[in-house]
């Protein structure tokens, strides 16, 4: 029984779906839709951090790219939600494609800040350079087509759709990390020199992982736009990077469920507790300090440790 709890993706998906549905219909469907989308974003971020050991301090660039890709498509091409999503993902993948080769040359601190630098450029582009099209600081408001029951204006449909997307991305990540590619990423995280020594072209693998991460984050961005019905530079604000870093760290980096738990935890704190916390940034900073000093495995890391301990204890008891 415990083994199933530990390893089964079906069980995890069940927990996610039941958890979010119960949460949504006991609290607020609108808000929980937000939480679900944010979890997709954290999953995208964690490809780089949890699995490749590269922490990006500029990931809102890719979220914002998805948001603006979707918004520009809806505003200037056709307001079709699915095309908008595709355009959002394409925008994120394109950024990953061109920024990837530069960014993955680096690691540690340099990787973190290179993403910030590109984030600053992107923020400038949407806020000032292309303000004629993006609406500058005010952003653009949008409406999307609906086809019969496929109506993104209906919050229940939207919620179900986003939850399906989360499950799909979750499953995709699960398969990815179980594959040879995922193990390669872990190898790069542990010791890149040795992986290269084995004859693998690590740069190519890192580049692909980077593109996956940016595309998934951009997908989350396009879903946000469909959910809110507007896009503004806030989606790309470099000052908001702390959100996703905090979420990934508190949930437990390197586990898919950890990303979902962390994303939900962050959104719950920021939506329900923020009004009781007078100094928001100070709270986030203090929490990050605590995580850095003594809570490194995150919530899921500790849960997993606990479950594994129980499995071991049971196995020992069975041997006797």
């Amino acid at each position: 029984m415990l083994k199933i709890l530990n390893n089964s993706v079906a069980f995890a998906v069940g927990v996610i779906v039941v958890g979010f549905v119960v949460f949504a219909y006991s609290a607020s469907v609108n808000k929980v839709t937000d939480f679900v989308i944010f979890c997709i974003y954290v999953l995208g971020f964690d490809v780089l951090y949890g699995h490749m050991g590269r922490i990006s301090f500029g990931h809102t660039l890719y979220l914002g790219a998805g948001a603006y890709g979707a918004a520009m498509c809806a505003k200037y091409l056709v307001p079709d939600p699915f095309l908008a999503m595709a355009m959002g993902i394409a925008a994120g993948a394109f950024l990953g494609l061109i920024i990837g080769p530069i960014a993955v040359k680096t690691k540690g601190a340099a990787f973190a800040l290179i993403n910030v630098a590109f984030n600053q450029i992107g923020y400038f582009i949407v806020l000032v350079a292309l303000a004629r099209y993006t609406g500058g600081e005010d952003g653009v408001s949008l409406t999307f087509n609906s086809y019969g029951f496929v109506n993104f204006g209906n919050i229940h449909f939207l919620f179900a759709f986003c939850l399906t997307c989360l499950v799909a991305v979750y499953y995709m990540m699960h398969r990815l990390y179980g594959s040879a590619f995922g193990i390669m990423l872990l190898g790069i995280k542990e010791n890149e020199t040795r992986v290269r020594f084995l004859g693998y072209n690590t740069s190519a693998y890192k580049w692909v992982a980077f593109i996956i991460s940016t595309s998934v984050s951009a997908f989350a961005g396009s879903l946000f736009v469909i959910n809110y019905g507007f896009a503004n530079p806030g989606f790309m604000d470099p000052a908001r990077n702390v959100e996703v870093i905090f979420a990934a760290l508190i949930g437990g980096p390197g586990t898919e469920l950890g990303a979902v738990v962390g994303g939900t935890a962050y959104m719950v704190i920021s939506n329900y507790l923020a009004k009781y916390i007078a100094r928001w940034e100070m709270f986030l900073g203090a929490a990050l300090l605590i995580i850095a000093f003594g809570f490194r495995k995150g919530i899921m890391g500790y849960v997993r440790e606990l479950v594994e301990k129980r499995i071991k204890a049971n196995a020992m008891a069975a041997e006797k």
Binding site: G53, F57, M282, A286, L288, L289
Partner: protein, 277 residues
């Protein structure tokens, strides 16, 4: 055009003064010290708070502000960066980022979120070919050159400087000579922080000071370090003045694009730079 060059040298000079400490920590420990930006902001705000205390005397207020910001950097180095450095570089970066967040919020708490102006302490301008350039900016340019020259002498002639330069090149070799390299790095860390604080103080009267100025300077310093090379002291100087000029020229044509242009230059340098960071 002359005005643009003077502005570029001013910005470049301030960038140099702030970047030198950042470059040294980056070169020696491979971590981005976000808290460096906090010291820069604290210097500027300490100046703002101490100006009335010093009865408007800028030099005295500046010296007091530097002294006031030194404990900040010492505490950050001793209790956050040092303690995490040996264990995980990632967590050291995250922790220094957390310190910056806390510091920025403290500044907002004490002085408010809106920008604060500091008036030009000199006030007079110098005329060059029918162009007026504030004397204060010329002083900054002179000061930055002075700091550049004295740091060059410091790293070439003094024993502390020599040990640090050697440690940047090959840490283990210096350790094997029985030299406690960390002690010397700590000394230059404090020196670098004092310079960061001075940079904040000098920048205040040129523009306005605001709580998020620390975030901005960290990314700019990073661009300087990427262009100039980590722990490369002469490269840092050249990169600072070059990027200062880039900023000034961009700002001449399109003010809002100045910061973004720096990062474009940085990206171009990264594309053509073969080394891995």
């Amino acid at each position: 055009m002359f005005e643009v060059i003077a502005y570029g040298l001013t910005i470049g000079g301030i960038l140099y003064i702030v970047s030198i400490g950042f470059s040294l920590t980056f070169g020696s420990m491979r971590i981005v010290n976000f808290a460096h930006g906090l010291v820069y902001a604290v210097g500027a705000y300490a100046l703002f708070a101490l100006l009335p205390v010093a009865k408007g005397n800028f030099v005295i207020a500046a010296i007091l502000a530097i002294l006031a910001s030194l404990p900040v950097s010492y505490v950050i180095e001793k209790f956050v960066i040092r303690r995490l450095y040996g264990k995980s570089i990632d967590y050291a970066i995250i922790a220094s980022y957390a310190v910056l967040l806390i510091g920025v919020d403290l500044i907002k708490w004490i002085w408010g979120a809106s920008p604060v102006p500091i008036s030009d302490p000199v006030g007079t301008s110098v005329s060059f070919f029918a162009l007026e350039i504030p004397l204060y900016r010329l002083i900054i340019i002179g000061l930055s050159f002075l700091i550049f020259i004295s740091l060059s002498i410091f790293f070439k002639k003094s024993i502390i400087g020599k040990i640090v330069v050697a440690g940047l090149a090959d840490r283990e070799a210096v350790l094997s000579l029985g030299i406690d390299i960390d002690k010397y790095f700590a000394i230059v860390f404090i020196l670098g922080s004092a310079l960061a604080s001075l940079g904040g103080i000098l920048y205040g009267p040129i523009s306005t000071i605001h709580p998020y100025m620390g975030f901005r300077i960290v990314t700019l310093c990073f661009a300087v370090v990427i262009v100039g090379g980590m722990g490369n002291l002469r490269g840092t100087a050249i990169a600072s003045y070059t990027l200062g000029m880039v900023m000034a020229v961009t700002a001449w044509y399109w003010g809002a694009a100045a910061d973004a242009m720096i990062f474009v230059v940085m990206a171009v340098v990264l594309i053509f730079r073969p080394i891995e960071l």
